[in-house]
Symmetry: C2
Subunit: 402 residues, 2 copies
């Protein structure tokens, strides 16, 4: 009669683990997100096994809750982001996005080729080095109330461009790997579709809201404006996947559109409990995906160290070079802000495993690299931001709590 006992237990354990991990991290003066990821690693299949591998594959309830969590997180980040501010940093963000993709892709493929892979496979491996995970950085920026800084805008803008490029690159390496040739006009169409989607939604949506947002209060539901923007968030998240983009890009755009409404402040407050409930699932699930058994050899650990170093250094150089026009201090923050790979590297690794490009060990190493970049970045970023807090002009905004 009373089903769903097991899944309730899992939800409970994941949620509590996230809270405990986050609390410990914060007591150690680390960002809470590091603790949540570490908690996921601890309760995941390779240590405690409270989450089984079957529970975190695509399409399971835990995976969907995690996806919903990161979607809402990027929606909330978008809510604190104005299109006007994004426009101001547009050029720098574009350069950071492009250079920040090219440098890791170049260094990654050279390294993979140097390790004996042919060029087609090397490019595939390199694709796993490319895409920044906006989720991790966004969460750190949010935890530190730093979303209004210019560096944050650049990072977020670059992450959007980054995702478009990563999608194209992945399309290229997958078709190369499949033995096909690259169809340039096809790729151009995909590129135009993605860019067009972002431009039309970003520009048109904010325009509509700025013109009139009173209609959001029309429905009789007491949750009225919130429901409509949540529907927008889910709708654009889904739509952006149709254009080959990550769901979080659509969610971010939805947030940015909603930030133009006069109910923006209420929406921000109402979104916080949603993040409190759902984002822990994302970070714990992310952490639980690393397979420590495959890494239990000196050779594997050494390879992991090299891969992680390349991933960090290459992305940092790309971001730093791209944003040096803002000064060395900002460029350093932006460079590190682009470092986390998180779920995107994991997705590439999964594709590579399925396509037979990677063996289990390279798969585990790439997943671990994604996690390591995600865990190393937040403390550095937190330290850099605090250090420059007094040096640069920060637009203060009302912050945590509700």
């Amino acid at each position: 009669m009373h089903h769903a006992s097991d899944i309730l237990f899992t939800l409970f354990v994941v949620f509590v683990a996230a809270q405990v991990g986050g609390e410990i991290a914060q007591r150690l003066k680390l960002p809470g997100v590091v603790g949540e990821i570490a908690a996921g690693c601890a309760i995941g299949p390779s240590l405690l096994g409270w989450i089984t591998p079957e529970q975190i594959v695509t399409g399971t309830p835990l995976d969907v809750l995690a996806e919903l969590g990161v979607i809402l997180l990027l929606f909330a980040v978008g809510l604190e982001t104005r299109l006007e501010d994004m426009k101001k940093v547009g050029k720098v963000a574009f350069v950071v996005g492009v250079v920040g993709v090219l440098v890791p892709f170049g260094m990654g493929s050279v390294w993979a080729h140097g390790n004996g892979l042919d060029w087609d496979r090397s490019l595939f491996v390199a694709a796993a080095f490319v895409a920044t995970s906006a989720g991790i950085t966004a969460r750190v920026l949010q935890e530190l109330n730093a979303l209004q800084r210019i560096e944050s805008k650049v990072i977020l803008g670059a992450a959007v461009i980054d995702d478009v490029l990563a999608m194209l690159l992945l399309g290229i390496v997958v078709s190369l790997q499949g033995g096909g040739s690259v169809n340039a006009s096809n790729l151009l169409l995909v590129l135009l579709g993605a860019v067009g989607f972002i431009a039309v939604i970003g520009w048109g949506g904010t325009r509509v809201m700025r013109w009139n947002s009173a209609w959001l209060d029309k429905p009789l539901s007491p949750h009225s404006p919130l429901m409509i923007v949540l529907a927008l968030c889910l709708g654009l998240a889904w739509l952006s996947t149709l254009f080959g983009l990550a769901a979080i890009i659509g969610a971010f755009l939805a947030g940015m559109i909603a930030s133009e409404t006069r109910q923006q402040h209420t929406l921000e407050k109402q979104t916080r409990p949603l993040l409190a409930l759902l984002t822990p699932f994302f970070f714990v699930v992310t952490g639980s995906k690393v397979d420590l058994h495959e890494l239990a050899s000196a050779e594997a650990l050494w390879m992991l160290a090299v891969v992680t170093a390349i991933a960090i250094v290459s992305k940092f150089i790309g971001g730093w070079l791209g944003s040096i026009s803002l000064g060395a201090r900002s460029a350093t923050i932006i460079g590190f802000g682009m470092v986390p790979r998180g779920e995107v590297g994991i997705v590439v690794a999964t594709l590579g495993l399925a396509a037979g490009v990677f063996d289990n060990r390279i798969y585990a190493i790439i997943v671990a690299m994604s996690l390591l970049t995600a865990m190393v970045t937040p403390p550095i970023l937190a330290w850099l931001l605090k250090r420059s807090d007094h040096a640069t002009g920060v637009i203060e905004r009302s912050g945590t709590g509700s």
Copy 2:
């Protein structure tokens, strides 16, 4: 690279359908929940097919979101319920719970036996008539800001007792159906376990919170008290399933415990966005479970009408008789408040189908009956409550919106 496109589409469609359905219902002066259930029926497998039958079986993402939605709903209802108030209505609630189970069980089994089933099967069918779905009634009471009325306390208390008795009854009919005999000492143990769980958690938990709730603010997380009570909610929801109770009983107790804290008002506000996001999944999924094809004959419709009439009348009589000490007006509200069956009837029907007690048509009829009782009740309840608003003393509380 970008997975989860299909499930995102489903989430979007379910969420939007709930909003559209709820809005239409409210424009027609009906409670929003009726529209949400109707929307589920419309987009479900038997009409539009935007939700497939595979998407709503136990353990799928949609099912888990629905479960989470109703858990949070009962948690929120618990947040507005004080143990002290429950104690005041304890006796009446107990009688309503017991009589409200016995009358439908008796009438249901007589009807089933009259239709040619042997007594063992008849008792199984009758079990589907028994359990009130607290979710539907709670939502209506909440929509109408009526949770502080004495009738609401009686209904909620009776729903808890109802669930304990329904669990016992189901245990009996399942073992009778399996050809076994009823083990009285075993049943007594189950009963003691369930009652003990409710008593210990309800009494002990509120005691602890009343004694000191300052520690809820101790964690460094900005979402601090909310996270802890959400963890409590998920934990007790899971724990109550271990005692054979519905997850919502544990969630309700968690809310009642949290209502004793000095952060109760903040928690209430923070819970609202969670309900706005997640409860629509519960009501839409509930609505989508009805199979209209099986009902497409005059005979089936007639049987449905009879079954629904028995379900409504028997529960109303039980609730009314049990609470007549509060006066006819209150007894009428309580009687109707106990009518909705919702998901519990569906669970019994599913068990019956699996055990071979029901064929597909009786299954469809029992599911449809559960839905009909859930859809018929809210308008009646809303009308009764509004009518008596001026007549009886209502403790006004700050209501909708945020």
